[in-house]
């Protein structure tokens, strides 16, 4: 379980957000939505302590992530899989090696099993024949899939998605959304999805948090989102041209 309490973050004199309180229960998928520059990705990077807050704390299964020494923090981070906005694939190695990469260093397993698990992860994201292609040879959607395969190859407890569908065509976006659902349903992974794609939110999330005006201005279930009356949130949803039934 992820517990976020009284989180505040500024860069210099610029306040990003404050008084952020959220809970993500085991197996749940939380979507964090908001305008570009509202600090969604900044919040996501706090969950595995890539960034540290000015105030407040985050507990992962009861452990305050910001109070860990670097050795423990690295162990805690291994429980997370992260899909970055641009996939963040290592361009000096092949796509397959990107997926196998975390296994080579953190799992004391034989080469045969590394190959097997990397292949299985790639199959899960429907990329069986990726071969030795370098990340530069892949399309945006394929890069995201490889990024996702790399994120799940270590069988993490938590998956963090940073704009998983941004820059993708509607069909590929839908495929990524299906994959997010598949991860949550079949692997029972707790997920946090940062996005401004309302269609994606409605498809994958169980809970939603809306960042606006430097705080979480609205949070609730996906059903409650459909009937939310908050003006800015309604405008945000309308602007995305998605009609809520």
């Amino acid at each position: 379980m992820i517990e976020i309490r009284n989180l505040k973050k500024s860069f210099g004199s610029h306040l990003i957000w404050e008084n952020v309180n959220l809970d993500v229960n085991d197996g749940e998928t939380l979507a964090v939505i908001g305008k570009s520059g509202s600090g969604k990705s900044v919040l996501l990077k706090h969950l595995n302590a890539l960034l540290t807050p000015d105030e407040g704390y985050i507990r992962i299964d009861g452990q305050n992530i910001f109070e860990q020494d670097y050795v423990n923090l690295r162990k805690l981070r291994q429980r997370f899989g992260v899909l970055f906005q641009g996939a963040a694939l290592f361009d000096s190695i092949s796509a397959f090696e990107n997926v196998a990469f975390p296994l080579r260093y953190f799992k004391d397993i034989e080469e045969d099993e590394i190959q097997e698990r990397a292949k299985r992860s790639l199959e899960m994201v429907d990329l069986k024949s990726i071969g030795d292609k370098s990340p530069a040879e892949l399309s945006g959607g394929m890069r995201k899939r490889v990024g996702l395969a790399r994120a799940i190859v270590t069988e993490p407890d938590y998956l963090l998605y940073d704009e998983p569908t941004s820059g993708l065509d509607p069909l590929t976006s839908d495929e990524i959304n299906d994959l997010i659902n598949y991860m949550a349903d079949s692997l029972e992974i707790t997920s946090v999805v940062v996005t401004h794609d309302i269609h994606s939110v409605l498809k994958v999330a169980e809970k939603v948090a809306y960042i606006d005006d430097q705080e979480i201005s609205w949070s609730g279930t996906i059903d409650e989102l459909q009937h939310a009356t908050q003006k800015n949130l309604r405008e945000f949803i309308k602007a995305s041209e998605y009609l809520i039934s």
């Binding site: 890539l50 690295r74 641009g86 963040a88 953190f106």
Partner: protein
């Protein structure tokens, strides 16, 4: 960021690198590759620089020694000692600041702005151990080796240009060279190149690792790494000459 903050962050990066020296498994894979990139791949430019420096030095020294009272072998002595003490280390390092320093700053800077360093940290990696340690060690080990190549090619360039232009015979050159060739001068040159190797790789790693601001930020980091390396090489040269000679 002021000078003291910058120095603090640089020292902290070096401290983290030193502290991670025991994590051999994390950086050993990259170490050989970095040694090849820094050493073997730089050989052509180093040999070219050495040959031309030695040749020009011979021509200019011959031009200045117009009196017949000084034996021609003196040209060999001057060229060799200048190359051993100063030129092989300093000129090759200034060239390598562009060749090696710029490469390292660009690689790490690109990894930073494309979130590849965040991806490493997210997986539980110590990114400093994985990225900075092998580059720093490769610089410290390979620069003295490159110095030996620069020195040898410089002397050979001097011998060749003297013979080709009819200024002095190779035997005369080598007589002078041997007369003033001291082992302690070579040790001094090796020490300088080791220090310059550390300066170039540490500054490049620092600038690249903390690069911000997309492609422009990477360009800025690369330029700063190259310019600062050249400045600090000249200062270090002065300090080492004052202390060791």
């Amino acid at each position: 960021m002021n000078l003291f903050e910058e120095l603090g962050r640089f020292s902290n990066l070096l401290y983290k690198t030193l502290r991670s020296s025991t994590e051999v498994k994390t950086y050993s894979g990259n170490l050989l590759l970095e040694m090849i990139k820094t050493g073997y791949d730089s050989l052509p430019i180093i040999l070219l620089t050495g040959v031309f420096t030695g040749s020009v030095m011979t021509i200019q020294t011959a031009y200045q020694l117009t009196t017949s009272l000084i034996p021609k072998s003196t040209i060999g002595a001057i060229v060799t000692q200048s190359t051993v003490i100063e030129l092989a280390a300093v000129i090759s390092s200034l060239v390598l600041a562009g060749r090696v320093g710029a490469r390292i700053a660009t690689e790490l800077g690109t990894m930073r702005v494309s979130e590849q360093i965040d991806a490493l940290e997210s997986m539980g990696f110590n990114s400093v151990t994985y990225l900075v340690m092998p580059r720093l060690v490769a610089g410290i080990v390979m620069f003295p080796i490159l110095y030996v190549f620069a020195l040898t090619s410089g002397i050979l360039g001097g011998v060749s240009s003297g013979a080709l232009l009819g200024t002095l015979a190779p035997a005369e050159f080598m007589t002078g060279a041997q007369q003033y060739f001291f082992g302690s001068d070579v040790v001094f040159g090796l020490t300088k190149s080791l220090v310059f190797g550390f300066i170039i790789t540490s500054i490049a790693c620092y600038k690249g690792y903390y690069a911000t601001g997309g492609a422009e930020g990477v360009g800025k980091a690369t330029t700063q790494a190259t310019v600062l390396s050249c400045i600090y090489i000249l200062f270090a040269d002065l300090i080492l000459a004052s202390i060791l000679l």
